[in-house]
């Protein structure tokens, strides 16, 4: 079929599916206007074909064009079924389901610099390389027993995975997934971030002395022999970290005490400094039901907007002084605080039990301008590259919702099985994502 002038796509017949479709799975196609013009597809059991060999038939039956630029593609993690949905962010369409990725609870992924490949880090230690053009699994290795996330080097040649069990970081050749080097630790590794000059920074949750550490691995000279700089005693229980968009500041949040640990990647010799002495868990009676995510601390000018830990507020930090300069009360414990790419609005989601809610904050006014209730449980939000739309994963409703960020109203929704992380390919060009 041909794609219409509006770029609208309809599916007929079987939904293109890599490997075998889950029994009863169906993809309802959607157009840019949110019109359900397609047919619900009954995916037959036993269709055990790989996308590669099925391309000619599927190309005729689906919306996947013969030439497919990757700049408006993305992947949605279906956490319970170990699958990914490949999506198109211009057409608001699901292209295909990619299956066979193991345990994808808390899975994350990074993209190659050419936006052709995705590297998926699964909870079961699986590292899977996916071709965004064909939807095929190019390579899959089980690299540890229990993994939490990963990063990709500045030059795009090295993929790094952070592991819980056994603790440590492993580095892989991005082409072949050959193991290049391994840094064992005596702790779970969290907050692995890529920085400038082919360096990676990561944190140790708790070493054998009960202390947190920050390590920097420099792979600029020889990817097979990382040079490691260790910063011990940086605080108790760093639980996640972020790298600033320029790759300079590595900031680890602390769970076991107040404050954050800050490392200037331009000046490792200056060591790790503590900042935000009042930031963190304050009240032992205020349990933290889900660790906030720091990877995407929203930065607007000199201000960073970060989730309060265990508190119903978004904390405002002036990063030129590393002082807290304000707080915005919100509906629950924030998990992600994400700035629209232009920085005008923040979108915030929340931990259990307020995870059915999303709030939009006007940065200038520092006020909530919209409270949305997409349903249980909004796990992740991802903006399109210039931010005209934001995609929300609504786990228990089994759908992804797409909002117009100007009106903060829903434009359309797409079916997905227990969706969690949403990742669009322009992440390829940013540090820390």
């Amino acid at each position: 079929m041909s794609t219409s002038a509006k770029g609208l796509a309809t599916y007929h017949g079987s939904t293109p599916t890599c490997k075998r479709a889950a029994p009863g799975a169906s993809l309802l196609d959607k157009t840019a206007e949110g019109l359900a013009t397609g047919t619900l597809t009954a995916i037959k059991r036993g269709v055990a074909m790989l996308c590669l060999c099925a391309v000619p038939a599927l190309a005729a039956a689906s919306s996947i064009p013969a030439i497919m630029p990757t700049g408006d593609l993305g992947l949605v993690v279906e956490r319970a079924s170990g699958s990914l949905l490949q999506v198109n962010t211009s057409r608001h369409a699901i292209l295909r389901r990619i299956e066979g990725l193991g345990d994808l609870s808390h899975a994350s992924l990074v993209f190659s610099r050419d936006e052709r490949y995705a590297f998926v880090f699964g909870r079961d230690g699986g590292l899977t390389k996916i071709d965004m053009l064909s939807g095929a699994i190019v390579k899959r290795v089980i690299q540890s027993g229990n993994s939490i996330g990963g990063a990709i080097s500045q030059d795009g040649r090295i993929v790094a995975a952070a592991n819980y069990t056994p603790g440590g970081v492993k580095f892989f050749d991005a082409d072949s997934l050959e193991l290049l080097a391994e840094i064992p630790t005596d702790s779970k590794v969290v907050g692995l971030e890529d920085s400038t000059d082919n360096r990676f920074a990561f944190s140790l949750w708790e070493n054998s002395h009960g202390e947190g550490e920050i390590w920097v691995a420099d792979l600029s000279e020889n990817p097979r022999e990382p040079r490691i700089t260790k910063f011990p005693n940086i605080g108790k229980q760093p639980y996640d970290a972020l790298i600033s968009p320029d790759g300079r500041w590595y900031v680890a949040g602390l769970f076991g005490e107040k404050g954050v640990a800050v490392l200037d990647m331009w000046h490792l010799e200056r060591g790790v400094k503590r900042a935000l002495p009042d930031y963190g868990k304050t009240d032992p009676k205020l349990p933290v039901y889900k660790m906030p995510h720091l990877e995407t601390w929203a930065m607007v000018g000199n201000l960073a907007f970060i989730p309060g830990v265990g508190r119903h507020e978004v904390v405002i930090v002036d990063v030129s002084t590393w002082q807290q300069v304000g707080a915005i009360p919100v509906a629950g414990q924030p998990v992600f605080v994400i700035a629209r790419p232009d920085g005008r609005h923040l979108w915030v989601n929340f931990a259990f039990p307020h995870y059915d809610t999303v709030q939009v904050i006007d940065v200038e006014a520092r006020q909530i301008v919209k409270t949305l209730q997409p349903g249980k449980a909004v796990l992740h939000m991802e903006f399109t590259p210039r931010g005209e739309a934001v995609w929300l994963s609504v786990r228990d409703a089994n759908r992804v919702e797409i909002y117009d960020t100007r009106t903060q109203s829903k434009r359309t929704e797409l079916p997905a099985q227990a969706p969690s992380g949403i990742f669009f390919t322009p992440r390829a060009h940013r540090f820390g994502l």
Partner: protein
Amino acid sequence: MGPPALAAAPGPDRVKELTHFVRQECGFCHGLQLTGGLGSSLTSAALRDKPSEALIAATLYGIPGTAMPGWAPFLSVDDASWIVNTLKKGFPQ
């Protein structure tokens, strides 16, 4: 609190809710397969030899000094007893 095995069992609807709750909310830290993550493993093998009372208390009131929060605002003692006993037997999908 009596022995966990004698606690009033949650009804079928509540069991369905609790099953989803454990897989999804506990799964954030303990893994969807409950094989551990930031939190410890909650598999049958990992929990079998631990006292149920301590596990129920940890579920309801958290573990100080760790990231484990108390879930008492959302779970009754019977709920927590059912969760612990079911985890020990091997949690259903």
